[in-house]
Symmetry: C2
C-alpha cells in the first residue's frame, strides 16, 4: 500500500503562520449593524460616543485566560480589513427584506473606505478594560467583531491543550448535538428561525457549520442569518433590524426628562424615514417595555412587529399582544420576534404557546453557535460561552445606559440607571438569571 501523501506546503504553513485572523471581512458582522450604521451615518455621523466591553460574569477572569498580545494582534488585524469589491457589489445589488437598493450609493461609497477605528485596551484585576471612543458611525462597527474575537480567542485558549483525537471527539459530539436540535426544531411545523449567533460564537467556522446544519436540517423554516458574510456566502437572507444602542444614545442626548421619555419613539420616527415593511420592528425594552407601551404614540401599533428581548418570552409576548388588541390591531398581521437566551426547549415552549395566535420568529444566538458544555472528552469549563457584551456607555459626553426588563441585563453608569428608573419606572422589571 502507498503511504498517504502529505501536502508539505500546507503542513509547514499550518505550523508557522503568525496569525490565524478571526475577522477577515467587514461583513462578518450582524446585518442590523449595517442598517443602523446607515441611519447613524446620515443623522449622527460625528457624534462622539464610547462603547465598552462588559463581562457579565466577572468571576471569569478573561485577561487570565486570553493572552493580551494575541487580543491586540486580532484587533489590529481587524483594523486592516476593508470592504472588498465583491462585497460592495453584493451590498448594492442584493435584495434585503424584499427591497432593492436598501443602502444608498453615497453610504456605500463612504463604507468602501471604512476601517475600524482605534481601541483602548488595558488589563485590571484579571479583566480586560476594552473600549472604543470616536464618532458613532465608526465606533459602532466594533461591537460584533470585537465580541467575536474575544469569544474565539477564549475557545482557542480552552482547546490549546487538547490533542488531535480529543478535538475530533469534541466537534463530533457538538455536531451530533446540533443535529439533534435541528431534528427537534423540524417538528415545529410553521417555525421561522434565524441565526443570531455571530457575537458569541465558538468560532467563525463553527458558526458556518451551524448555519449549514440549519439549512440542511430544517430547510424553509430557517429564514436567514444575522451574519452578513454568511448570508452572502451561503445565499441566505441577511436578517435583523435595530438594537438598543439607538434609544440609549437618543436618551443620552435628550436635554429634558420630557424629551428623554420621548426618545425611544424618536428612534422609530428616524428609522421609518429610512426603512419600512418587515424592517419596522420595535425593540421595546431599552428602558422597560411597560413604560414603552404606556407612553407609546398610537402609530407605533402600525409597526410590523416587536422584539421582546429581555422579558420572559411568554409573558413579554402576551403583554405586547394585549397592547396590540387595545389598539385594535389584527394580530394576524403582526409578528413577535424572540431572541433572548433561546434554546430548543424555550423555542418549543414559546412556539406552542403562541402557535396560531400571532406570527412569530426566533433569533437564535449563543445556544446555537456556542453550545459546547459537556462536549469535551475531558470536562472543560472554559468551553462554556462567555456572557460578554459591548455596549454604548457614553454619548456626547453623557452616560448612556440601558434598563432592560431584566435588572441583570441593565448596563451603564449606576447613578444614571437610578435616574432613568425614576423617570421611566421600573416596577414591572423581572429579575431573571442571564443565561448567555
Amino acid at each position: 500500500m502507498t503511504a498517504p501523501i502529505t501536502d508539505i506546503a500546507k503542513r509547514v504553513h499550518d505550523h508557522t503562520w503568525k496569525l490565524d485572523p478571526i475577522i477577515r471581512s467587514l461583513l462578518d458582522t450582524d446585518f442590523y449593524k449595517l442598517l443602523m450604521l446607515q441611519m447613524i451615518w446620515k443623522r449622527h455621523r460625528d457624534l462622539p460616543v464610547t462603547f465598552s466591553l462588559i463581562n457579565r460574569k466577572p468571576e471569569i477572569r478573561l485577561a487570565d485566560e486570553i493572552d493580551e498580545s494575541a487580543l491586540r494582534e486580532q484587533l489590529d488585524h481587524a483594523r486592516t480589513v476593508m470592504l472588498s469589491k465583491k462585497e460592495r457589489i453584493w451590498l448594492a445589488g442584493n435584495t434585503f427584506y424584499g427591497k432593492k437598493h436598501i443602502f444608498e450609493p453615497e453610504f456605500l461609497e463612504w463604507f468602501a473606505n471604512f476601517r475600524l477605528p482605534d481601541y483602548d485596551l488595558s488589563v485590571r484585576d484579571g479583566q480586560f478594560e476594552l473600549s472604543f471612543s470616536g464618532s458613532w458611525c465608526e465606533v459602532t462597527m466594533w461591537e460584533i467583531p470585537a465580541l467575536a474575537i474575544l469569544m474565539e480567542l477564549r475557545s482557542r485558549a480552552a482547546m490549546a491543550g487538547m490533542g488531535r483525537f480529543h478535538l475530533d471527539v469534541l466537534y463530533a459530539r457538538a455536531k451530533a448535538r446540533m443535529w439533534e436540535k435541528t431534528e427537534r426544531l423540524n417538528r415545529l411545523e410553521n417555525l421561522r428561525i434565524s441565526d443570531f449567533g455571530s457575537r458569541r460564537r465558538h468560532s467563525y467556522l463553527w458558526q458556518r457549520w451551524c448555519v449549514e446544519a440549519l439549512k440542511e436540517g430544517i430547510g424553509e423554516k430557517f429564514t436567514g442569518t444575522s451574519n452578513v458574510k454568511l448570508a452572502m456566502d451561503t445565499d441566505l437572507e441577511a436578517v435583523g433590524t435595530n438594537a438598543h444602542e439607538l434609544p440609549m444614545v437618543y436618551a443620552a442626548l435628550a436635554d429634558s426628562d420630557a424629551e428623554r421619555l420621548k426618545s425611544p419613539y424618536k428612534v422609530l420616527e428616524d428609522w421609518n424615514t429610512l426603512y419600512g415593511g418587515n424592517l419596522l420592528i420595535v425593540l421595546p425594552d431599552a428602558f422597560g417595555t411597560e413604560s414603552f407601551l404606556q407612553n407609546a404614540p398610537g402609530w407605533v401599533a402600525d409597526w410590523t412587529g416587536f422584539r421582546p428581548d429581555s422579558a420572559p418570552p411568554i409573558e413579554g409576548g402576551e403583554r405586547i399582544m394585549q397592547w396590540w388588541r387595545q389598539h385594535g390591531v389584527d394580530l394576524k398581521d403582526r409578528i413577535l420576534i424572540f431572541s433572548d437566551g433561546l434554546d430548543v426547549e424555550t423555542i418549543e415552549e414559546t412556539y406552542r404557546h403562541f402557535e396560531g395566535r400571532v406570527r412569530m420568529a426566533f433569533g437564535w444566538g449563543t445556544n446555537l453557535t456556542n453550545d459546547f458544555v459537556g462536549m469535551a472528552p475531558t470536562e472543560n469549563e472554559r468551553l462554556r460561552a462567555l456572557s460578554i457584551v459591548i455596549k454604548v456607555t457614553e454619548a456626547a459626553g453623557r452616560p448612556a445606559v440601558k434598563l432592560s426588563d431584566n435588572p441583570n441585563k441593565a448596563t451603564g453608569d449606576e447613578q444614571t440607571v437610578q435616574d432613568y428608573l425614576r423617570l421611566f419606572g421600573g416596577d414591572s422589571r423581572v429579575e431573571q438569571a442571564v443565561l448567555v
Copy 2:
C-alpha cells in the same frame, strides 16, 4: 481575505481514481488466522477445502445492493497484495502474547510469497454465491478480507447517495455514540476488552478510528486488537487464538464416530505442540459445549481459558466454571473470553456478574466497528451491519459443519448437521436470535 488553497492534484485524483482498495495489506486480517495458518501449514498444508459465504439474513439481497463488478475488482485487488518487507520483519521480531519468535522462519518465508488464491463468484436469486476452494493454508486466508470487502462495499453503497453534509453528520454522530460507549466502559474498573471487529467493520478507516477511541478513552483496559495491521500501526497487542474451522475440519476428516467425537481434543493437542500460555484458549462450542465438556479429557482443565462463543454469556460462563470446579481448578487462574454479539449493555451485565469470581476478557466485534443504525440524517437501513460469515463447508471432499450452542448459528450441509447432532447430542442447545 484569501480563498482557501485547493490541492488540485489531490482533488483530481479523488475524482478520477479507478479503485479505492479495501484490502491493502495481508495483515489486515485477524491475528488468530495467522496462528491457525501456521498450524495448518505445518500439519495440513495441502488438504483440499472449500470455504463459502453464508448470508444469515437472506432477506437482504446482497447482490442487489453491491455491484458484482465492484466486488470482483476488490477481490482481484486483494489477490495482488503481498506481505511487505516491513510487515515480515515485524511478524518475526514482535512479541505476541509475551512470546518472541512465535512464527517460525520457514513459515514466514513461505508467507512472504503468499497471495490469496482464486475465488468462485456467481449471482443467484439476488445473492452472491462466493466460495474459495483449494489447499487449506491458502483458502483460510480469504475469510477476513472477503468479509471486510463485502461489508465495506455495502457501506459504500449505502452512502453513495449521501451529500457531503449528511456524511459529516453521519460520522459525527457515530463518533459521539462511540465515545459515549467508551465513557460507559471506562467505569468498569477491571475491564479487559479487545477489538474483534475486523470482519464486520463499517470500513477500515472507521475500525481504525474506533481503535483510537478505545486507546484514548479506556487506556489500559483496552488490551489489543485482533487486526494485525492495526496492532502493528498503533503499537497495540495483536490478540486472538483459534476458531471453529479447526474442529470443523478435524471432525470432517474423522473416519469413525469415535474418532469424530475425539476430534475437538485432537485440535487442542495439535495446538499445544505449537502454542502455550495465554494462547491456550478453548473454543468449546463447535459441536455443543455440553458434549465438549462431558467428553473432555482431564488435561483440558489445565488450559488457560475458554471462549464461550454462542451460549448466552452468563449461563455459558457459569457452566464452564462449574466444570472447572469439578476438575479442582482454581478459578483465579482461569479466564473466560466473551465474544458473541457484545455491546455495552451485555458487556456491563456480564462483567458485573463475573466480577471478582474469575478472570475475564471481552472481544468486541460488530457493535464496536459497525454501529450506524440511526446515525444517518435520513434513515438508512442499509447502514445496519450485515450478518454474514465465511465458513469451511468442505474438507477432503466431505462436508464440514458447525452445530454451535445456538441452532441459529449452525452452518453446513443439513444432513451432516443431523448426523453430527445424533453423535454429539444437541439437547442443551438454546435457540437465540443472531444479533450480528
